[in-house]
Amino acid sequence: MSNIAYPYQPSAPTTAPTAAPTTAQFAPRRPILTATNLTMDYAAKHPNTNASTNPNANVFTPPAAAAMPMARPLALNSVNFRLNTKETVAVMGPSGSGKSTLLHVLAGIDKPTSGRVLYQPPNAASAQDLTALPDAERTMLRRSAFGFVFQSGQLLPELPAVENIALPMMLGGVSYAQATDCALLWLERLGLKALAAQRPGEMSGGQMQRIAIARALAARPNVVFADEPTGALDQATGREVMAILMAAAHENDAAVIVVTHDPNVASFCSRTVTMQDGALQ
């Protein structure tokens, strides 16, 4: 491999951790994300929601149920949350408790009904309020400062693995040659070089998640958001994937938030918080 200094070159490979990092590794650090009093009321956001704007509204409501007076459940109910630099946090809770909504609001994908999310990059003097940023700036931030790993479906089916990893770098203005060279480094590092030319439809679930991790970290993000990253995998593959995610994030000094139902996945994180009915316990 050449010695060209790529803007997104991964750090030197190290062995993956097999257990959660110790608290000593996460000495008090400054917060990178601070959420204050977050509330999310989907019904208030979409008072005229119908099938044409909201795919989830495509649900049949029995007339009797529709007539019943009900308290409106909040997806997020006065949530306060802090994520420190290089910290790893697992968000657990039952289905519908608001975990993914919290993740989306923290990542600037969705705007809360009320409350603030402050993002402070490690070397910046001041914080940015994600809830006040225009969509274009939040998009830029997601591209450059955040990485995402979802349960499935995040890789473009038409692109081979190497181009899937190169895509975020190219969106940031890196040339095709540089981006794919760097992507190849990531593939090599994760032991997936043989998959470089394969498309997601030709890979196993575990391989796809490894590629997704490489893609999430290729742009050297400050925070990695993972939503059920092992949800579609068996336990052994899930552990492998989590080990790779945590090791790669640690080597790149990225903080990680993982939404999961699985205590085994949560055990990879230094802290676990639990959500219930839209509130943090």
Binding site: S52, A75, G96, E158, L167, L171, Y176
Partner: protein, 490 residues
């Protein structure tokens, strides 16, 4: 539960979601196809009306059965043509009918492409829902009948709207001047039987296309098979295409010898056949050309949008080709029209008076060519726009993921635009080049005329403009998709 009850379940108000919007797209496509078809049929009817002794289609084919004493030349005399020219106008009227039929034949390809696109939309956008139905216990035949009912229903509604479009377009068609006089309602009115047959024909066409599409997509309870790389079209397609062009050009170069061997009629048939053959083969080579171009651009894409666009084309070159295949014929028609217009202009200049039947005939050939080009371009552009808009809904989940990960909307719009424009450029180069190469040995002098080139490139510009409108409309559809602001499965 019978199929109709199942269909009703999915078509409750508010239950249709994105499939409801693709249904609307399919209806638009069917309506456009029907309106254009009826308008062209109206034109054919008008020419037959003028050429027939008692202005009926049946009598046109059987002169002996005409009302006693009726003569077709009487129409021209009665409509004010000088007696010296009326006879010639009557003879030419047969030629107009012939040309109108040729225009119809030329429009079959874009018409079929549009109807096929609409039927494909009706059948293929429901993969997830149909798979869920199978999982819930629906049989394959129930699912097939549901799709058939959907497609036929859309075609029926579209065809009925198309009839309204036919009536709406009629005042504009009545302004057109052919055979030195304007069309009347009576001439353009195809009659209730033709309307009914058209509606039935469009519905049946949709039904058959949808069922054929469904035969290729196996709807299993587990949904659609994973998308693996497909082998790209092989090079022999290009070899066959190039061979047919070379053979045609060689034959045109030695037309004199060929003529002495086959006779005049045989030579004309051979020339027409050899001009049409490469365009019949265009469908064969089109997919190959589009994928070859995309492959070369995918090697070193300039930006992320280019990379996404080229990979999408390579993912399904057939789809990319289908989006613009109608344009291939439109460009070919532009080539013929340009040459015909130039030759018509020359003969009209040498013929003296502007209302001389020969000059009128030549001028009308050019106008008819332009009209055919316009219809072909409209059909192709609607087909392309509908397919693009349909694929926006199809790829909504991918767009959502891309946006979540920081892809800006401009990049996605640019990728979509490039996904259409790259095949379009390839098709225009291929079809335009092919038309020019084939016409060159026959009409070399006409092809260097400024008027010919102007008409030819004007036709191509029209195609670009209409397809761009389609691409723009697809981007508007994408802009209306709500990709991020809905509750995740948490």
């Amino acid at each position: 539960m019978n199929t109709f009850a199942l269909w009703c379940l999915f078509h409750r108000p508010g239950a249709s979601g994105s499939s409801g919007r693709t249904s609307a797209l399919a209806i638009i496509a069917f309506a456009t196809a029907t309106a254009v078809f009826l308008t062209v049929l109206g034109g054919v009817h008008g020419f037959i009306w003028r050429a027939s002794a008692d202005h009926t289609v049946a009598r046109y084919f059987n002169d002996a059965a005409c009302a006693p004493g009726a003569k077709s030349v009487d129409y021209w005399l009665a409509s004010g043509a000088p007696a010296a020219w009326a006879e010639m106008m009557d003879v030419n009227a047969q030629g107009y009918v012939c040309l109108a039929f040729i225009a119809c034949v030329l429009l079959i390809v874009p018409f079929a492409a549009l109807a096929g696109s609409a039927a494909r939309l009706a059948a293929s956008r429901r993969d997830a829902r149909l798979a869920a139905l199978r999982l819930a216990g629906a049989t394959r035949s129930q699912v097939t009948r549901l799709v058939a009912l959907d497609a036929a229903g859309q075609a029926l509604v579209g065809a009925l709207i198309g009839i309204l479009g036919y009536f709406a377009a009629m005042p504009a068609i009545m302004l057109l001047n052919f055979q030195n006089r304007r069309f009347t309602f009576e001439q353009l009115w195809v009659g209730p039987v033709a309307l009914a047959l058209t509606v039935i024909g469009v519905t049946l066409l949709a039904l058959v296309s949808a069922l054929l599409t469904l035969r290729r997509v196996s709807i299993t309870p587990l949904g659609v098979a994973s998308r693996a790389a497909q082998p790209l079209p092989s090079h022999w397609r290009a070899a066959i295409f190039a061979g047919s062009i070379v053979a045609a050009v060689a034959l045109f170069d030695s037309l004199a010898q060929v003529s002495s061997f086959f006779g005049e009629i045989g030579t004309i048939a051979l020339v027409l056949g050899l001009i049409m053959l490469p365009f019949a083969l265009m469908n064969l080579v089109g997919t190959w050309a589009v994928s070859a171009r995309a492959k070369s651009l995918a090697r070193r894409p300039h930006c992320a949008a280019d990379m996404i666009a080229m990979r999408r084309i390579l993912d399904n070159p057939k789809r990319a080709w289908r989006n613009v295949s109608g344009i291939a014929l439109a460009v070919f028609i532009a080539g013929i029209t340009a040459v015909a217009g130039c030759i018509g202009g020359a003969s009209s200049a040498s013929g003296g008076a502007g209302d001389d039947p020969t000059a009128i005939y030549a001028r009308d050939m050019s106008s008819g060519g332009l009209l055919t080009l316009m219809f072909a371009a409209i059909l192709a552009a609607v087909s392309s726009g509908v397919m693009q808009a349909g694929s926006v809904y199809d790829q909504a989940q991918e767009y959502r993921m891309l946006l979540l990960e920081g892809t800006d909307v401009d990049t996605l719009n640019k990728a979509r635009f490039r996904e259409v424009m790259t095949p379009l450029n390839t098709v225009v180069a291929l079809a335009g080049g092919c038309a020019m190469v084939l016409m060159m040995p026959l009409f070399a002098s006409a092809m260097t005329e400024a008027g010919t080139l102007l008409t030819f490139f004007g036709g191509i510009a029209l195609c670009y403009a209409l397809v761009s409108i389609g691409a723009f409309a697809a981007n508007r559809v994408a802009a209306r998709l709500n990709l991020t602001d809905w509750r995740a499965d948490d």
